[in-house]
């Protein structure tokens, strides 16, 4: 970003704050439990999936509930944030046509508001940890690291899909198919060792797999992730952001002609 656009971006930080607050306010407005839903939703889903997969399919994973809920919270954040970011430019067409606002602010605000919601959902993970007697160690203080990876990675993907969706509206329909495929390619509810060798390669190409692994190593195994995994995660998230920024910057000048 050039100096001038950084400066003008700074001016719009209050707007970013307002947009994030707006998303959060509207999301649970008039629902009785309000923000509690961010916590209850993953817990309830986890209960159902735990019953289905540990009783019916019998995956042999120690502490399956915790394994599952980590995968769910992480993946839900990625899919929710990128999907809502995808609609952000087209959805704010009316505003973009009437006032000058840095366009990047819209996908960014959607990702941030999903991120706040996910932080509530993290509480659900702690509840499961307490229930299942997993020891709470100091290593949990490492959690902000994978959270950063996740945020930066999702932001990069969001920038790409939001910019492309302006030109190709097919994205709206295609993307939900894509996220479904992606969710199966991510070991959310199955253990990685049941994957046949020929598919394992595909799994290893999924960048989200490594970030999820990072979370699980810290929470589930109480371990400090190794240097290699850390370096890989940094590369993945930074690369995603850089590619996102390049594509977004290149495409944004003509947004107004297409929305």
């Amino acid at each position: 970003m050039s100096n001038k656009s950084l400066e003008s971006f700074y001016k719009y930080i209050p707007l970013l704050k307002e947009l994030v607050l707006r998303d959060l306010r509207i999301k649970y407005r008039r629902s009785f439990f309000g923000y509690l839903w961010s916590l209850m939703n993953p817990l309830m889903m986890m209960c159902i999936l735990t019953i289905v997969f540990s009783q019916v399919f019998r995956f042999d994973i120690p502490n399956y509930s915790l394994y599952l809920i980590i995968g769910q919270v992480v993946f839900n954040f990625v899919s929710e944030s990128t999907t809502s970011a995808m609609y952000s430019i087209v959805g704010n067409a009316a505003l973009l046509k009437k006032v000058y606002v840095p366009k990047l602010i819209f996908p960014l605000s959607r990702v941030l508001s999903s991120f706040v919601t996910m932080l509530f959902s993290m509480v659900a993970i702690f509840i499961v940890m307490l229930i299942t007697d997993v020891s709470i160690t100091k290593k949990l203080l490492l959690l902000p690291i994978p959270l950063c990876f996740l945020l930066v990675f999702s932001l990069g993907v969001s920038l790409i899909v939001s910019a492309i969706a302006v030109y190709f509206r097919d994205m709206f329909h295609l993307y939900s198919v894509f996220t479904t495929a992606w969710s199966f390619l991510t070991p959310i509810f199955y253990p990685i060792n049941i994957v046949p060798v020929e598919f394992k390669q595909m799994l290893l190409l999924n960048p989200l797999y490594y970030i999820l692994l990072y979370f699980r190593e810290i929470i589930l195994e109480g371990a400090i992730p190794g240097f290699e995994l850390t370096a890989l995660c940094i590369t993945i998230s930074v690369l995603s952001l850089i590619i996102g920024l390049i594509i977004f910057k290149k495409l944004q000048n003509n947004f107004l002609m297409y929305i």
Binding site: P14, E18, L95, V99, F168, D170, M257, Y258
Partner: protein, 245 residues
């Protein structure tokens, strides 16, 4: 001091843009080599210098490019060629309440809209009462905007956009909504701002209002400047042209 300098600005639109809004269409058109569009020139080689503190009116028929020019000045559109240099902050009143979210209450919208214009929460706190008073919506502060009448929305939008002193104010035929009393109030506020040195750019079809508000005027016809200068003279030229048609 020149406050807005517009140098040979042209703006082109692709009229046929609707033709591909999906991958399928894009591929079909691309393979047929039909991705060339009819270009529509909304603005052709416009040059204009506006001094600080001046008040300019843009006049012309519907679709002549007035609003496009306003949007180029406020940075919403990037001109296809040419350059626009603006010194100072702009309060764009291109459509009142553009940044409103109908689900949110008036109170929340005041802060949201302020942020859209680039004002911090602290600044909005300071002007909050002023805005509410001018818009006359004190009793409806915690009502979602979707329950407001269009006049109320317009009042609130105008009130927010003009509460904090900007260096340049851009007004696009927005005062048609709102009752007579409120219109008078708006004109009064704009006069005040003008006296305090705010540069005004005004689009209107109301000749009387233009002559009263603005000392200078530009007549735009199909994207080109037809005449510019004293607002009285330009308005007269424009009226003669309309009558002779």
């Amino acid at each position: 001091m020149v406050c807005i300098s517009i140098k040979s600005v042209s703006m082109e639109f692709n009229l046929a843009e609707e033709q591909f809004s999906g991958i399928k269409d894009f591929l079909i058109l691309a393979t047929k080599g039909k991705l060339r569009f009819n270009k529509f020139h909304a603005l052709k080689n416009i040059s204009l210098n506006i001094q600080k503190g001046e008040s300019w009116a843009l006049i012309g028929e519907n679709g002549c490019g007035k609003s496009t020019l306003l949007k180029v000045i406020s940075g919403i559109y990037k001109p296809t060629s040419g350059s626009v240099i603006v010194k100072g902050s702009i309060a764009p009143l291109i459509e009142l309440g553009a940044g409103f979210d109908s689900e949110l209450t008036a109170r929340e919208n005041i802060y949201l809209n302020g942020a859209v214009l680039g004002y911090s929460k602290r600044l909005m706190d300071k002007y909050f009462n002023n805005i509410v008073e001018f818009a006359e919506i004190k009793d409806f502060l915690d009502v979602p905007i979707k329950n407001f009448s269009s006049g109320m929305v317009a009042r609130l939008g105008f009130s927010i956009a003009t509460a904090i002193k900007a260096d340049i104010i851009i007004i696009d035929e927005i005062l048609a909504v709102g009752d007579y009393a409120f219109q008078q109030k708006c004109y009064k506020r704009m006069e005040e701002m003008k006296r305090e040195g705010t540069t005004v750019i005004f689009v209107s079809h109301d000749e009387e209002q233009v002559k009263k508000m603005c000392s200078k005027a530009v007549w735009i016809a199909s994207g080109e400047i037809k005449a510019m200068g004293e607002s009285k003279k330009v308005c007269d030229l424009y009226r003669q042209y309309i009558e002779s048609k």
